[in-house]
């Protein structure tokens, strides 16, 4: 079971390395969206500092959602997904392996990039630290929850738009606690409570989302 997890995650990471251009699209999307806001709102630093947590988190939400489409779609088209369903391994372990690889490729770079972008918004180093921490806890939860939506919309026409409709409402708690943590820190209230809520959401989605996504995959592949 563990070796199956490693094999599948290794395979997906290897595939990502062979298609490096795909690796950067999500990251660039995040960077561009975050950089667009000052252009739309104006360079007033006080305003920017105020909206930064929300902007970063909404951008992270959208970036993670855009990347979802590729999570199962390629495997579905080339038949590798059928083989996954028939592998003598618990399906949720394989789903977890795929989501982990997916997060390492699309989520982690974004977390690492965030502090650099935070400088554009004149965030304090403390707020930046909490931002990274909140993204580190929140983005895996986004990938996990998103996997359910990606699995449900597999092979449907208009899948990309549809998945956003299904998944975005479910992302709301992560958004609230994620941006709330940064905001609370920036305003001197301390983001402890938010961070622990994010942690709880991550644990909950680690437990439930792979199961739900497995069930969704079985429904969609039929």
């Amino acid at each position: 079971m563990f070796s199956a997890f490693r094999t599948l995650m290794g395979r997906d990471l290897l595939l990502a390395m062979r298609r490096r251009s795909d690796l950067f699209t999500t990251l660039f999307f995040f960077v561009i969206v975050v950089s667009l806001f000052p252009l739309g709102i104006g360079p007033e630093m006080n305003t920017l500092r105020l909206i930064a947590p929300g902007v970063f988190w909404v951008a992270a939400l959208l970036a993670s959602m855009l990347a979802l489409e590729r999570l199962f779609a390629v495997d579905y088209e080339d038949g590798a997904l059928e083989q996954m369903l028939l592998a003598p391994q618990p399906l949720f372990v394989l789903v977890l392996a795929k989501v982990t690889a997916h997060w390492l490729v699309t989520g982690l770079p974004l977390v690492l990039m965030a502090p650099l972008l935070g400088l554009q918004y004149d965030l304090s180093s403390e707020a930046l630290g909490v931002m990274v921490l909140s993204l580190l806890l929140g983005t895996p939860a986004l990938s996990l929850i998103g996997a359910i939506g990606a699995a449900l919309t597999l092979g449907l026409r208009g899948g990309g738009v549809l998945v956003s409709l299904l998944v975005l409402p479910l992302y709301i708690p992560v958004l609230i606690f994620g941006s709330g943590a940064v905001e609370a820190t920036a305003s001197g209230l301390g983001g402890q409570g938010h961070i622990s809520m994010l942690g709880a959401i991550l644990v909950l989605s680690l437990l439930l989302a792979p199961l739900a996504a497995s069930a969704a995959l079985r429904i969609s592949v039929e």
């Binding site: 449907l156 709330g180 969704a216 969609s220």
Partner: protein, 279 residues
Amino acid sequence: MPPVAKFNEVTGTKPYLYYQTPGTAGLHYPMNSRLINWFKFSSPATFYPLAGRLVPIFAVLALALIGVGLYMSFFVAPTDYKQGEGYRIIFVHVPAAWMSMFIYLIMAFWAALGLVFNTRLSGMMTRALAPTGAIFAFLALWTGAFWGKPMWGTWWVWDARLTSELILLFLYLGYLALQGAIDDTRRADRAGALLVLVGVVNIPIIYYSVQWWNTLHQGATISMDNGSKMGVTMLWTMLIMALGFWAYTIAVALARVRSIILEREADTTWVSELAEVRL
């Protein structure tokens, strides 16, 4: 070309060849007939006429209750000393908000039933309820905005309840969009059921997080129903309206289920023998 050499061993006496003769074969659902009477009405063929008898009853009930409820809310219920006449909109707003939440729960119940027992009717029920749930959620938001304008001076306030209601509407819309995108009815039913169950697990978390977010941001301090202590007449009015909405929901959902059944079972014998289909 004659059929290729036949299979040289068959277990039991059952025929193993299937003849594709759409329309005449008649789909029997052995799954349902085998289960005891508990599931008797989960067979579309038996449920269809039953629903047909129930629809007018509930429709009349809905009309009467909502009529009485509206009369009471406009003419019987006293004017609120704090909020004036404008408060009367809560007689629609609150029951609509209740219904929108109840309907999601009922959908989740049918969804779970469908996934566990694989009954075909469950998917149809879930599907039939969704548009009504979405309409009630929309109605709650709409009346909320009408209420907000005179009370708060603005059409929209990011109040925790209103925000949660908005998210509930999004969940309904997501379900409807997913249903619309899937052609295969079986997949649509099962995928929809799973989505509703995921939603129902998330609703408390969403509700809680919105509440947290709201208190933190010191948003609206007035909430919809803590303005004044509610009088007995007001309570009765609201209850009657809520019952009326229930009856409406049942009538509409059953009528919708009937057309879904007809649509899906169009090439079965029992449907082709129906009087309304023959005409």
